[in-house]
Structure formats: C-alpha cells, structure tokens
Symmetry: D2
C-alpha cells in the first residue's frame, strides 16, 4: 500500500516549463461567489464561527483562529455561485515573477495586479491554469491578530487553520504531473489494478495536502477545508447544526478518512459549496515520505469505518470562474468513475481484500449498491 | 416536545398486579447465546476490551471497567444465537419474593434457583414475562475488583458500565404500561400525531433508560449497550475496527442520538447480536423529570445530525429464549412501522417541521427513500 | 483499600431521631451571599457560562445546561460573603413534613415558608442543622427549559449539572453519623491507621457524593461543584481564564482526584467562594457499593497524579449563616489536621506505601514541605 | 507582545560561516545514555508506549506511531546518564557536505561515519558544536512501517511524533545567532525590559520549534518532547502513572504553555532525563510569521493557567557528552536567572501587568516565593 511512486502518467501531458516554479508556501485563501451574502455570512460566521476581519456590502473577509494574514476565505456577492480564486501564498515577492514566467511559458492567461484582487492582499498574480482553474499567488498581505491564545473567543467548534483545497478535474495523472512541475509532491492517491488513477493528494506545507485532484468532470471545486484542534470540535459542529435545525447541511461524515488518516466532516453551504472540517493528518515533509496508494475497491479508503459515500459527494461540485468572471466550461472525465466502479451497478468494493465483495457490510448493501436503484 | 405524559395507552392491556413490584436497581447483565464461543470471545475481549472475570469451555463472564459485580455479559456457547436473559439487580434478597408474587399474579412462568443461573450470581428468579422476554432478578452476587482506577489497563475504547437493554415488542403502549407497573418510568418516547407510539425509553437508575421498548415483531432483543467515559473513546473503537479490517461490524453511527442526547455507535457481533456503545445522556431521577416526546417524522429523533438509519437497524434483532431454552415465537406488529412511515415508499420526514419533507437533505434522498427502491 | 465500613465513630454523637428522615433526591442549589453582585454575576455568567434564569437588583438565579428546575445557584447581594443555604430537593411535598419532624426532634431551629426562600421555589423548610449548617429542603419548583439539546448555546467550558457540595466540620465521624441518619451513604473516606477520619464523601443520587464532610474548623462551606461532560471542557475553562488574565482564580488543578476518580478544577470566585468543576466519577447506587477508604498519607488520595494540594485549599473556606442571616460561630477541629500530617513540619506522605516518604517526588519537596517554611 | 524581531544580540558572538548551512528538515532523534537499560526500556516502552523498532543488549531503538524512519530515540546502556546526540535529518546526502564545511569553518570537531553512529541510520556527521552540544546530521535511514493507521496498536497515551529538543546554554542570544546561521528561525522568546533574553524557541519544520535554547549553566539537555494527537492522551499518561504508583515521575504539568500555546506534561525518566509530552502548537512556516516575545515577569508565559514552575525544572538538566563520550564541562550563566527574577527572594511576577505583583494568586504565594524559604 505504501511506496514512493506518483500516480500513473497520462498520455495527455502538459509540458514542463523550462523555468523554475514559484516557491509556494501553502494554500492561503479561497474566494467564493455567493448568491446571498447575508445568508452565507450567517453560515460562516454564526454557524461555523469564522472570524470577520473586514466586510462591506459586497464581500466578507474571514479568517480562522490561528491565522495571522488578513483572510482565509472571501465571500463575494454574485449572481451565480462559483469559485473565483484558489489562492496560494509564496515565499517572497520575487516568486511572483517566477509564477508569471511559469504560466506564460505554459501559454496561460496571466493577470497581475499591484493592489491585489481582494482587500488585505498586495501585489498578486492570477492565472487561468492549464486545467482551467483560477489560481492566485501573492506574498504581500496585511497582518492581523493571531487569535490562538484568545480562548475567550473560542467556541466548541472553532476552526483554527485553512487546511486544503480539493479540485475536480477529468484527467488526474495529467493534473498531478502539472502540479509536480509547480512544485507539489504527492502524498497519497487512489488507483486500481488496471492503472487508472481516481484521485491524488498533493502538498507544499508538510501536511497531507494543500490541494487534492479528484477525478470527475472539471474544472470544478470539490471542497475547501478548515482544520480544528481536536475531533470533539467537529462533533460539536454537528451538534450545533442539529440544534439549529440545519442538519441537512451535513452531507457526509463525520468519520475518519482512510486517505490522510484525518477525521472529517463534509458540509454544504447555502449555495451548495462544500466545506470540509478536518483534523489530525500527519507530517509529510521528508523528501522520501512514503506515498500511500489505496485500491479504489478498498471500502475503507474514503471512510476508514466503511461508511458509504453518498452519490452527491461524487457528482456535485462548484463551478469555477475564468479571469473574466464567467463560468469555465466543463471537460468530461473519460476514465472510469470512482462512484461507478465502487457503488454503481457493476461496482464492487471490499472490507477485507481476501474476501472480496463478500466482506462488505450486509446492513449497508442498500446504500452501497444505490447504483442498482437510481 | 416536553411534557409529563406517558405514551398513549394500548387497548390490549396487561393487568396491574395487586402486589408491589420488586425494587429494581438497574439493568445488570445480559446472557447471550453465541454459536462460536472463541469467535465471540475474541470480539468482546480483544476488540471491545471487556474484562474476563471468569471463563470455562462453555461460557465467558465479562465485565466493564467500573463494575464491581461478577459480570455484565455472559457469552454462552449454543446452537442458535439468542438471548437467554435480561437480568436486573434488585435492592435486597427480599425483593425477589416480590418478583415471584408479581409475576405469579400475572400468570407468568417463574423459576427460582438458589445457586443462580450463571456463575457469580446467587439466588435468582427468572420469569417469562407477559411480553415473552426472559427476565431475571437477583441480589446476591460475587464482588470483584472495580477497575476504575486501573488506568494501566484502560484501552482507547474502554467500556466502563453496562448502560441499558433495548427490546423489540409489537405493542409499545402495552409494554410501557406493564413496565410502569414493574416500577419503571418513561423518560422519552416517539409518537405520531395520530397517537401511535413507536418506541419508549424507561429507567430505574437515574439515566435515560435501563431498557427501551422498540416497536416491531417481538419479543426480540434489539441491543445491549455499554457506556464509555468520553466520545473520543467511541471514535477509537471505530478506528480500531478499521485497523482490524472489521469495519463491517459497524451498522450505524457513530452519531448523536436525538432521543437521550447520548453519543452512540451500533455494532453487530459475530452472531449479529447488536451492541451499542453509548455516552453522555442526562440525569433523570426527579419524579417530575420532563418526558420528551419526539415526532416520528422528526429526522433528528434517531440521529441528531440527520444521518439516515439503515433498514437493518429497524428490521433485524435477536431471538429470545423461553425458560426451556427454546426460541420464543414472534408476534407481529400491527401498528405502523417507524421505518415505513419515515423512509418507506409513502414515508416522510423533516429537518424543519415548518418546511416538511422539503427540509430533508437533498444529498441523502437516496438513502432516506430506500423504500422506493427495495 | 475497599470495604463496606463507614468511618470510625465519634464519641460525640448526635442522637438518631425516631422519625424517618425525608427522602432526599439530590443536592439542588446553593445560595451564596456575594459582596459585589455585578462582579460575581460576571464571573458566573461570562466566565463560567452558567445560564441566567432570572435576576433582579438583589439576586441572580443561575442554572446549568441540563437542569430543568429554576436554579442551581443563587447569588444574593450582601455585606459579607457567606453561604445562606445548602438546598436539597426531596421526592414529594410530604417529605417536607418528615424534614420538620426530623430536625425538631434533634432540637434544631426550623423555618417553614410556603412561598419559598428564593424565587422559583415553592414551599420550603430551612433548618440550622446539628453541625451548624443552613440546610434547605423543597419539592415544588418552577420548571424551566432543559437546555441539553441546545448545542447552539454551549460554550467550550459549559457546565451541565450541579454535582455536589463540600462542607467543613470539625468532627467528621459525628457529621457522618448524622448524615447517615438523614439517609446519606458513605462512598469514600480518608482515614489514618490510628483511626482518625479526615474526610468522608456521601451520596443520595447515585454518584460519589451529594456532599462531603471535610475535617476543619466549622461549620464552613468548602466548595460547590458543577459537572461538565468531558475533561477537555475543564481545560477550556483554564484556557479561558488565562485569556482573560484571570488565571489567579485557579487555586488547584486541573487534575484527577484519587477520591471519586473524577477530573477536577478548583476555582475561587471574586469573594473567595470555592467552585469546583468536576467530571466522571462512577455509579454508586447499589446498597453494597464498595466503600473506598484512603490512607491520609497516600500522596495520590487528593490528586491521583501526586500534584501538591496548596495550603489555602486546606485552610480557607466560606462562612455560613444562621437562619437570621448572621455568621455561625466556628468550632475548632481537635482531631489531627490533614495538612499537618501530610505536608506540615512533622508530616509525611508516600507515592508507594512500601517505600514511604522516600517515594515522594524529589522535585516537589519544597511544595510538599511548605510547613517547614511558613 | 508580537513582532518580527529576534532576541537581543550577545556581545559574545560566534562568527557566521561563509558557507551555506545544511538544509535541515527536522529534529529526528535523540541518543540517551541510561544507567539501567532494562529499567529505562520499561519506562519508555511499557509506560510511555513507544514502539521498539530494534534492540540488543546494549541499546533499544524506539519510534513514535506516525514515524517512518528507524527511530526517534535511542536508549544506550552506559555508566553515567547523559545525552550522546541531538540528531537532525537533512534534505539530501549532499547537505552533509555542507554540514562538514559549516562546522569546520567554525573550528568545531567533526566526525564522519559512513555506516552511521546508530543502527538504522546511514552516513552521518557528528559535530561538537560551538555551544558544546553533540549535534548529528544524516539523510540515509532505514524506512519502517508508519503505524499511523494501526489503531489496534494505539494506547490511551500513544505518542505520535518526535516534536522537539530543548537545550540549556548560558548565553541565549549567542546561541540564537548561531542557530539562525544554521538556518533556524525564532518563533517565540522570553525577555525582560532590560534586554536580557531568558529563552528562545527555534524551528526548521513549521511548528513552534525543533529546539529551544533555555538560559542556564550549559551545555545541558533540558528535555526531549514527543507529540500526541489530543490533550486527553496526555491526561491518560498521568492517569496511568498514578495507577502504576509512578506519579513521582511527573515533574510539572499537565498544563497549557503560554509560549507555543501547546498543552504539555513534563516527566523525568528513571535517570532523571526530562521528557515532555506536547500537543497543539501552531503553523509557523511563513517567513513573516510573527515572533512572540513574552515578558519574563508574565506569570502566564510558562504556564498559561499560572501554575508555578517547580525549581527543579529550572535547575536540573542532563549532562551532554563530547564526541569521545565524556561529559562536556559546564559554563555558568552570567545573565540573570529566570527563576531568580520570578520566584526568587527578589523576584516578581504578575498575572495582570497593570496590577503587578498584586495580581499574583494569593493561594500560591508560598509556591511562587519559595526563594524566601529555601
């Protein structure tokens, strides 16, 4: 299950630029377009307890408790729910020149803005990347109070850090190769015996990922994830959603991921944007950090406890915008679908590899075999 | 949602004996018949970490970490998986005479055994109760070490106390009335607007229940439940089951119950006997403790987070034995089925009462509406 | 260490009344006199997050999250910090007649008030008990919302239940004998080989205690204790006190008690009243529940981790009032002092009995042997 | 309290080499000399539950649950308790040449060993650094199973990662300047108004530290720290030590550090080597990560809850060996002592700066002012 190999390669490869990629520190923030700013603000501020750094009639800038930069999430009022930017922080202003060169060599559209694209951020570079995603890079940012010690402000479910993004793209090996060129490293992936790659997790900071590539029609945004300190904080968010009669915001979990070993909960915001709450993956910074490859038919890969993944989790994701603010057209996945091979009509999974499909929980056959029934 | 009323009464009532019932302290142990003693021992001892007080070729006597009586669970080798006894401890030996009189007046078969029916227990009374369940009462018991302070023996998922039984019976109001005559008090129940009662929770000790009556074909045993100290211990049991590639033992949860407010996990043992792990309900000892009545269509009644109940949880339960050790014949439920009214073809549930079925999580429609598909 | 014996008897015994004692359910609330109502309200409401049921210019009525009666704590403005009542709930109104008879036979002053002594409570009986404590008994009470399911209102350190009182009295065996006459049972105590009893824990509800008797000059109130759901909630209270720069409110802990096996934290309110936060003791309702007797020289009896008890914890306690509202005069303890025999100049303790004083942590000698230095 | 400045500079500076320092990934393991290998093995394996990778008559090689390299701790039998190596992993074998050049330019003794100094490690470089510490650098290492998913092996207090070292050295600014030359960055420090630096925390990996420099007679090893997943795991270690009647191994805590914001516990192993258990500090990888400077008189800097630091914690530390295996001679600290300025006869601390010494907890005056009494 463990090795040092990246996912199988695609036949449809993005060329490696001759210039070095920018030195990326970490995923830093996401810009979400929401259709009802007040309603979304209520969800992120009053339900999920993110901290408002700044707001106006058009946008709300939010951060987590341990963050010292201006924001980890921007909610911007718009007509159609979408993602306007996946933003990464780089090590220095000079790295932005590298970003420009890197993407220009790839033939991508590149926009530079000295004053930044959002409040609190300085000189920034936005690109439409080869997969169609709106990526942003910046270094200059307004510092704000790191609230780590402000235990008078913590709530039972406080979010402390932006942890990662998750992107939907049709050709995962193609995406991985491009991201490795951009300086990311694979930590875990899901494959099958025939060599199809279904998803891959990639990091810059020494956690399991800064972003993951999930196979599906894309480009789309699968989720944005925030970290908590302990597992009980994730349970507290569920309890609070129940008390607010908002339990229908819970799409999947809570549970333990197989991939990443983290404890998770997947929510849907008022526009359907998926937000993951996440805690306790592991250190990955050594160059020879063992890559973990999961068999797509291993029923514990997505949920270590074998609880079924709901179909919407596989099929629904957020539109991403191009640099003009219009939806980027989708490209369909042609490789096998993880949902179809595991829970579809011809799908199969196992709890114990040696027993195959017979080792699937009998009490959940209905849920796992939904494909038969839809 | 809160009042002081018991469930609606049945038309088919068991008469109230003229004698006082025995003064019952608490549910004390269950005797399970298992078909492969070694396999079941492995599950309860090596997976769930119950403590072996004593064992021989035919039976294993197990207790939880804070228990000081000989056992909370007996595994006895037999040909057919079943439940041989639901055993309660009474306040004194004299209470056993009251038990005899109480059940004799009800016309029930009563067996007295000076040396007890299981090791470690003294003079005991077993009855086939009016609902068909094999109930036992005892006072004399061998004391063993309470391991509460033995933190060198605790494991990440240690079970500290037997918490409750859960019984399946066709006519819940009938069962409740009889149990109230036996000295139990209702703490919570599930009803609908038409007056059907689907389940009721009843206590002697000051927790939410010592046993619950769940509507269905009966008599059958729905589950036996052990308590942990904190929620993370229940998550640790799930994690361990994953590591042992036994995640298919997880039938439902973990989650937060609406009823009882406790955090729970439902497992199936190697014979399919259901074992619940449970923590953090509330104090109920005041005579005017508010009874909580849940609407059967409230999607948060069984799981506060709105996660669906798998059909097997409603339909499967363990056979119970009569005093000769033979399976007790089933009586079918004629009242509405909770599964049918909530997830069946004509079923409906809500997250927010004012929005009705529209407030159900769209991403889980498939799971909730399985009735359409089976 | 475990047996079924009560503490050694005193030579100075309060006679057992010929009438039966009232059937007490549980400790229900304490009435505290505070010298600055606004300041105390801030501590209990904004720091400890108790819920205000009702308040006026003279008093604040507070309850915990799982309570359904009007209050668990009354803060009443007064000139001198003190305790006006230790209040217990009885099983029915009729039990109040028993209380009157019980205390009248003991020659105690008894006050009856149909409308109750505090808001929200009906007919009540207050007595000056034989030890000098102002005890109250009531049944009628205004019901309020049990907030158990209101997870939108929980905070990281929410208190869910009043757990127990702790009283200081000079002659512990005398106090225990009287409390046993009142229907309480001893669950644990601290003794020495010579037969001196230093403290005893006594229950009505099936936890380790509803009140404890701590040896010292009395009558005084040692502490009032509230329960949380899990240990991390107690740590969250510490963290919050740090963030508020109120860490000097922490007198002792957090830690694990030896006695009771509970996790604890002892705070001092703005008037110096001691408030304990407490979680996870064990079930004690069986009549033959093993009594645990601890050796006074066992260094883990008060703190299972061997952390030293600060001298103030032994020496400071709150004044109690007589039924006229005046301080009750103190009687000095003549038996040995727990502090002197353990940390005083001639004191000794052990971590491992077989090694005696040599098994005390070398790094804490200074703290343990403060008696040499004061 | 927050800025971007390093500690004040020393007048006694180690020159900055002209060559680049090795690219260090993280603290990787410590080699401890212990006087009774069986006794130390019992402490680390049976009490702290570290995993034995390999062992022989002379040494035991231990790792934590999430580690994939051969070991995080070596226990080696010897005549005098000491520390033989603080070992760091570098990014590639080539970095070892940089290490050699770096230290040779500093005039330090450098030892290269192709086969490594301990089992499981390949080509390694050991140096006697300018402060007198035996530092090791390596890249090649035997991979072993990362047990992160092996929840069947976890115990209530499982250690998952080596987190940091802590070193005692007389001149903290001198040490910091040298460590910055070696590529470390300061994240937090303790200073006073007069410009004395008492301690500094420095990182390579993006946590608060890989090592800290604590002012005192040195070179000595203050502690080695392992991380757990959650705070309850640290409490479980305390509980287990109590059950094993080894509570005297607890020197300080558990508590919340002010510096680092982590939850901690400090133990002493059978030879007196200090082992810290640690969880939940924060992400520090951004180049402009705010440095937190604490006032030495802030009573919450070392323990956020204001609990006193025992004198032994300031005064006792482990001997370190030179490359010949002999104790390195101590150099005395000439700057002010943190213990003296805070708890000594003329010391002072505050809970609230504006109130000064008056804001210290009255109930702990004895403990804080031990200096008066010793």
């Amino acid at each position: 299950m463990t090795g040092n190999t990246a996912p199988h390669q695609s036949h449809n490869t993005i060329p490696t630029p001759t210039v070095a990629p920018p030195d990326i520190l970490r995923c830093a923030y996401m810009e979400l377009v929401v259709t009802d700013l007040a309603r979304s603000r209520d969800f992120y501020v009053n339900v999920l307890d993110l901290v408002v750094t700044e707001e106006d009639d058009h946008a709300v800038y939010l951060r987590s408790m341990e963050e010292f930069i201006h924001h980890n999430l921007v909610l911007r009022q718009g007509e159609q729910a979408a993602v306007a930017a996946f933003s990464y922080r780089v090590r220095s202003p000079e790295e932005l020149d590298r970003a420009v060169e890197f993407y220009q060599e790839l033939g991508c559209r590149v926009e530079r803005r000295t004053e930044g694209f959002t409040k609190g951020i300085g000189y920034s570079v936005r690109v439409q990347d080869p997969l169609g995603f709106p990526y942003e890079f910046f270094y200059d940012v307004q510092h704000v109070d790191r609230l780590a010690w402000r235990y008078d402000l913590y709530t039972p479910g406080s979010l402390v850090r932006l942890d990662h993004f998750n992107q939907v793209t049709p050709d995962v090996p193609k995406a991985v190769k491009y991201m490795e060129d951009l300086g990311f490293r694979v930590t875990e992936d899901i494959q099958d015996e025939a060599g199809t790659t279904y998803a891959a997790w990639m990091r810059r900071k020494p956690t399991v990922h800064d972003t993951a590539m999930t196979g599906g029609d894309g480009p789309r945004m699968h989720h944005v994830a925030f970290a908590t300190h302990e597992k009980h904080k994730i349970l507290a968010i569920c309890d609070k959603l129940g008390a607010l009669r908002m339990s229908d915001r819970i799409e999947r979990g809570p549970g333990r991921h197989g991939v990443s070993n983290a404890f998770y909960l997947d929510l849907r915001d008022p526009d359907g944007h998926r937000v993951e709450i996440y805690t306790q993956d592991y250190y990955t910074w050594d160059p020879d950090n063992p890559v973990v490859t999961w068999d797509v038919r291993d029923n514990q890969r997505r949920d270590w406890w074998g609880n079924p993944v709901v179909p919407s989790w596989y099929t629904e994701a957020s539109t991403v915008l191009n640099l003009d603010g219009n939806p980027f057209p989708l490209v369909s996945r042609t490789d096998d679908s993880e949902m179809e091979v595991t829970i579809g009509a011809d799908g199969s999974s196992y709890t114990r590899p040696e027993e195959g499909q017979d080792s699937m929980p009998e009490w959940k056959q209905g849920e796992y075999k939904l494909g038969h029934q839809l």
